[in-house]
Symmetry: C2
Subunit: 498 residues, 2 copies
């Protein structure tokens, strides 16, 4: 085999993998947005077959030979091809350990599970979801062994979302955060709370849709390359760096939910749209890890979106979309309301401070589920106990409890810690950004372009070209969760006069 | 190979073909509805690769061997498997004549063409579309040779949409219709025209959307298995008999357009939803031919949807959706308005009588384009000349002329005659239906279920289990276009006092 021939085959392989991913994405997007209700079965058949075909394509020994050949000649490859080969070898090694049949079965299961979870959540019926969740957990334990049998199963899964992440590190990380967040929370508990009742006035969906359009404009999202849809659980889906979709959900009695979900998903979209052209249709397209992805979404959502300069910049326009609802509200009141700290039930509606506690509950449960220390049937009870312990709230039902998130139904175990890691990465990125450029002057004028340009340069552009840890280092320097804790303390000291 | 093993492989092959078709459909649906504007490139890459993979899967010699093996043992097969084998052998023979590269190139071309056509139509710029159309025509001429080199190229393409159809037959068919329609048209031209100006009052999109929901209810379309979307050009897309989508377009100055496009596409959807379960995920799923498909859509649209009993049944409710716009209108006036005969520019807005003349223009042009007697650059001129000759109208621009339809941009040459054939099949089905059951009593009460049950029994249920000609025979008896001409004469004699 000539090197050029091998490189052509490498490109062809990756284009095929892109095509299968695009097919999956289109079916998923359809299934979660416009598809008629009783149509999961047919989509499941298609997704199962496509997963099997992709599996066959990627796991054939010929692929292994091609990758070995290229790896042996890696010194002759440019950075792009070397990195592609390295990443594909890693995926190949992992995938070839999963039997094709199990892989297909799992693809069909997650499709079914999504449907069942929706119905279970709607009816707050954990028993409906339980058998499916049991299968999902069993699959993930088995897959963890395939991924890396030398690791504890949950460590092997964590590694999927943030390479190198371990329970040992996260136990330390979360206990640092908990030690600093819990006292803050107690101090705030003694202070007077701002009034945020105006956020829960009646906000018609149509006006909220227009407000979302405005927010996307402020974020600098080009609508010719990024649309917004509506789903039960908001998400970002990327076909390529010219085609990204975000979704949100409109709650007429809570304008805050869609507002911050749009900014959050918009942050994910900014990342995907900012990735360089020359990695498209390769395994290096797309964000590098879940932790880094969440650092971007939560950067826009919290560090910018819940900052005072940002609120002051957008509030006059916000009031134009909701003149009746916000006529008696000032920017200062709005700022305080969107930063009100209040232990609550729903992660996606949590304030910036208690958010990490929501993540810790999930981390704790996943660790035990995958470690075999907790049975699926006991999830609701454990969930409710931990919410009481960490957040001091009573969970009234599973809809507002352990059925609230879609992640498990999609087969994601080990994803949740990325949210907390991302928050912490982001705080450190902000600190460095403030050193490099004038962040708050432009933001106060509603201009996010310097912020976006900095993030594009330090994070977005690379896609998967660098290792996740190197991207973090590039933007954060030596990662230190204390920077995030410092940020929280300073922010809430001012807000609550601590 | 054991027979059982071969049958299992046959099922697996068809499930894979279903999965690729579902992936295509999901990407197409997305591309025509919610996808951001500048995203055709990435979708084209995916569609091209998937087309290549499907091609490879289906055209491998192993597939040929499997089909030959089963065909040799066809006497041992039940009807379903025998028919599947027969159909797949036909497709295999045809497909293996198209080189894989050309097949992939063509898939990417049609994706690009759809995008270019949209822009060309928007700007009424035929020159923009011309180079793409030239490529499409060249491909189709080449493909026609692959399909059946013994046939004239256009005959080979016609055969794709309605098996056995030829220019010779269609020349006769269309001249029969023309001989009966043109005198009718002249007679009507001397009569007073009904007032239909109220159809072009201002009809807000939101109210039209609700009206569409109502129409789907009247048609008996179960929304858990059939949704409605919005696209430039309305279409029906079927994943399987439990998952069908229709689309429409809302024109605020013309309530008739979406009304009859919904009923038309609804007719296609009824067909797909009525197909038996045991042919799903096989090559026999889906309507049997374009002509039979159009017979169903145009049955609901015209024979039922533009009938007096139907209008009388739905008019009171229609007025509730549009109280201001229709307050001074009676059911009789509405009936006359939706049946007003007036030679016009746009096929999809044409009345039932002149519709076939629109089809004839396209038939004539396709015949010459594929036959090599007409250059693509001369299409606009020829189009305009034929519209003047057949319909007596002057075409002011290409947007309202040869750029109006999406078919050619999707690579469909030879489809248009199906519309006229379908209309003629439908008229004969109605005649037989009236013999079998009470059609108009229930329709006058807004109850379409007996009509739908008859069509389901005679047409829908079979899917591809019978040959198209046998489905036509089953529902029509010996096909005779004169029945359609009789129907038109009787209908318009009453409407216009001829």
């Amino acid at each position: 085999m000539e090197l050029n021939e091998a490189l052509a085959k490498l490109a062809e392989l990756q284009k095929k993998l892109y095509a299968y991913a695009a097919a999956d994405s289109a079916l998923y997007l359809d299934g979660t947005t416009v598809a008629p209700k009783d149509t999961a079965e047919g989509r499941g058949v298609a997704l199962g077959v496509l997963a099997g075909e992709r599996h066959k394509l990627f796991s054939t020994p010929k692929t292994g030979e091609l990758l070995d050949y290229l790896w042996a000649r890696r010194n002759e490859l440019d950075q792009l091809h070397r990195r592609q080969t390295e990443e594909l070898r890693r995926s190949y090694a992992q995938l070839t350990r999963i039997p094709a049949e199990e892989y297909m079965e799992y693809a069909m299961l997650t499709n079914e599970a999504s449907d069942v979870w929706h119905r279970a959540k709607e009816n707050s019926d954990f028993e409906l979801f339980r058998p499916v969740l049991e299968k999902l957990v069993a699959f993930n334990i088995k897959f963890a062994g395939y991924y890396d049998s030398a690791k504890a199963p949950y460590d092997a899964l964590l590694n999927e979302y943030e390479r190198g992440m371990t329970m040992e590190y996260l136990d330390g990380f979360f206990s640092t955060l908990r030690e600093r967040i819990v006292p803050l929370l107690h101090a705030i508990g003694k202070k007077e709370q701002p009034d945020d009742s105006f956020l829960r006035r009646h906000y018609p969906v149509e006006a909220q849709r227009k407000f979302s359009d405005y927010l996307m404009e402020v974020l600098g999202l080009d609508r010719a390359h990024c649309t917004i849809g509506e789903t039960e659980h908001p998400y970002t889906l990327n076909f390529n760096n010219k085609d990204v979709r975000i979704t949100t959900r409109y709650d007429e009695d809570n304008m805050n939910f869609s507002m911050y979900s749009v900014i959050h998903e918009g942050g994910h979209a900014k990342y995907e749209l900012g990735i360089r052209d020359d990695v498209q249709y390769t395994c290096l397209a797309g964000g590098v890890s879940m932790g880094v992805h969440e650092s971007q979404s939560r950067f826009y959502e919290n560090l910018i979106g819940r900052s005072k300069p940002f609120i002051e910049a957008i509030f006059p326009k916000t009031r134009e979309f909701f003149p009746e609802q916000l006529s008696d509200v000032t920017a200062e009141q709005f700022y305080r309301a969107v930063n009100k700290v209040q232990p609550s039930l729903i992660r996606t509606e949590a304030d910036e401070l208690t958010y990490c506690l929501h993540v810790m509950v999930r981390y704790e449960i996943e660790k035990q589920l995958i470690g075999g220390a907790l049975a699926v049937k006991d999830v609701p009870e454990t969930w409710n106990r931990l919410y009481k312990e960490y957040l001091g709230v009573d969970v009234p039902n599973d809809k507002q409890g352990c059925l609230q998130d879609s992640h498990w139904s999609g087969g994601s175990f080990g994803y949740f810690p990325s949210y907390a890691l991302g928050s912490a990465y982001g705080a450190q990125m902000l600190k460095n950004m403030e050193r490099d450029i004038d962040v708050w002057g432009p933001v106060a004028r509603g201009d996010l372009s310097p912020v976006s340009a900095w993030l594009k340069e330090k994070v977005h552009q690379y896609g998967g070209l660098l290792e996740p840890a190197d991207v973090v280092k590039n933007a954060c320097g030596q990662f230190d969760p204390a920077v995030f804790a410092d940020y929280l303390e300073q922010k809430y000291a001012k807000l609550y006069n601590l």
